[in-house]
């Protein structure tokens, strides 16, 4: 695996701070940078100062300009496709270790979070991986929770690994793999088939969604996380959302999910909205106002709804949950600020910040870190 060094951090800081590298170097707390790099284990990895030479654990070795960066000891275990990149989970673990170390020993304290993320992303990139953080709000939550110790590096690495894709396409059938549980049920077999499909084609992460019935909770299958079950309240909310969209003769959109959530009558989302003074009737009235002027379509699923599905999975993983509850749906509705559900909630004074705060309060009051 290829590590970063102090010079890398200064170059990254120049871009993040929007200044030249001389200014960045003058502002850098080099001792903190060293502490962070040491904590993250970067010294054990290969490094390459500007194409002139490469530091390795065994000392300094010559390297021609433009030559591929060197590779460090211990890399064999984590080598990915074609021996070119570390394994997905190893890369995620090392990137999170770097981010965690930079959060605790910030070389640029005023830019602590930005520098940690920028360095982590750059570390992944030079090792052949790209992070797909399509829901920045969820990524911010992960960083904040990692910084405060509410999320362990292992949990954060698991979240990040699910969002990594090769920096450039791998040859067919040689994509990165993640060890998954052996298939033990039809659902697991479906999940495995989806993963194969995904990795072979290097396509965007697909979702298989089963809404479920009253007596059988549904869930989502993704290539990386496998199956994530809906809670009972979430299943009920989705059934109601489907009924709402049918009743209104519209493709299922985020606003129907919101109607389903508030109509479910119970669950963390409803409690959070109640705390913010938002009741079912107010939501229904606002949804009718907001969507009343919009043309109805024939598509079975509004495109914005697909974004909500993905965001919902992101939210669950970001919170370290292996299930999907109503609160994850509620957070996910804000993945597009201009969708009808987000607009309705904002109109009612329940913006993303307020909703996240209300859920956090409820969880704190109940003494739980996670909810069903």
């Amino acid at each position: 695996m290829i590590g970063l060094d102090v010079a890398d951090l200064v170059v990254i800081a120049g871009e993040v701070l929007g200044c030249d590298t001389g200014t960045a170097l003058a502002q850098a707390d080099l001792a903190a940078a060293e502490d962070a790099l040491a904590q993250a284990g970067m010294a054990r990895m290969a490094r390459s100062p500007g194409g002139t030479s490469a530091w390795t654990a065994g000392g300094m070795s010559a390297r021609a300009p433009g030559e591929a960066r060197g590779r460090g000891p211990g890399e064999a275990r984590g080598t990915g496709p074609g021996g070119a990149s570390p394994h997905r989970s190893d890369a995620a673990e090392a990137a999170v270790a770097l981010m965690d170390a930079l959060l605790r020993h910030p070389p640029f304290p005023a830019y602590r979070g930005q520098m940690a993320v920028a360095a982590g992303l750059q570390f992944l990139a030079v090792n052949g991986w790209q992070a797909n953080l399509d829901v920045p709000g969820a990524a911010v939550v992960v960083i904040e929770r990692l910084a405060s110790g509410q999320l362990t590096p292992v949990q954060a690495a698991s979240w990040l690994a699910a969002r990594l894709s090769p920096e450039s396409g791998w040859p067919a059938g040689q994509g990165p793999r993640r060890d998954m549980h052996p298939p033990r049920s039809p659902v697991a077999q479906i999940a495995r088939a989806v993963r194969r499909h995904y990795f072979r084609g290097n396509r965007p992460s697909p979702l298989i969604i089963h809404i479920g019935r009253d007596d059988m909770p549904g869930g989502v299958i993704t290539p990386v996380t496998g199956r994530m079950a809906f809670t009972g309240h979430a299943t009920k909310a989705l059934i109601l959302a489907r009924q709402e969209s049918s009743r209104l003769g519209r493709p299922r959109g985020p606003e129907h999910i919101l109607l389903g959530l508030v109509s479910a009558g119970d669950g963390l989302a409803v409690k959070a909205l109640e705390r913010l003074g938002v009741g079912p009737e107010a939501v229904r009235e606002q949804v009718e106002q907001v969507t009343g002027q919009e043309p109805s379509g024939a598509a079975p699923e509004a495109p914005q709804t697909l974004r909500v599905w993905h965001a919902m999975v992101d939210e669950a993983v970001a919170h370290g949950d292996d299930y999907i509850g109503t609160e994850h749906f509620l957070f996910a509705l804000f993945c597009d600020a201009d969708n009808a559900a987000a607009r309705v909630l904002i109109r009612l004074g329940a913006g993303e910040r307020e909703v996240r705060g209300a859920v956090a309060e409820l969880l704190a009051e109940s003494g739980r870190e996670r909810s069903a």
Binding site: D5, V6, A7, D8, V10, V11, I12, E15, V16, T21, G22, L25, L30, A31, E34, S48, P49, G50, G51, T52, A110, Y111, R112, G113, Q114, V117, A118, L121, Q122, A125, V126, A131, L133, P136, G137, A139, V140, I143, E144, E167
Partner: protein, 68 residues
């Protein structure tokens, strides 16, 4: 500036500093500046960095808002 250096490297830096009549700290910072300049000429590194920052601009903006 406090830097924990490999003893052999520290010895070399001290020697350079003594010959040139400067502090070890100055010599070390100058050495890092040279490394930074060299790194800036690594086109692949810079391209990846620029791509990454552009792709994750919104995330970085959100973090900046949190820190300010």
């Amino acid at each position: 500036m406090v830097l924990r250096l490999d003893p052999a490297l520290a010895e070399r830096l001290a020697a350079v500093a003594e010959v040139e009549g400067r502090t070890v700290s100055d010599v070390a910072r100058e050495a890092i500046a040279a490394l930074v300049e060299a790194r800036r000429s690594d086109k692949r590194f810079i391209r990846l960095l620029e791509d990454n920052l552009a792709r994750h601009r919104r995330l970085l903006d959100l973090l900046r808002a949190d820190e300010s």
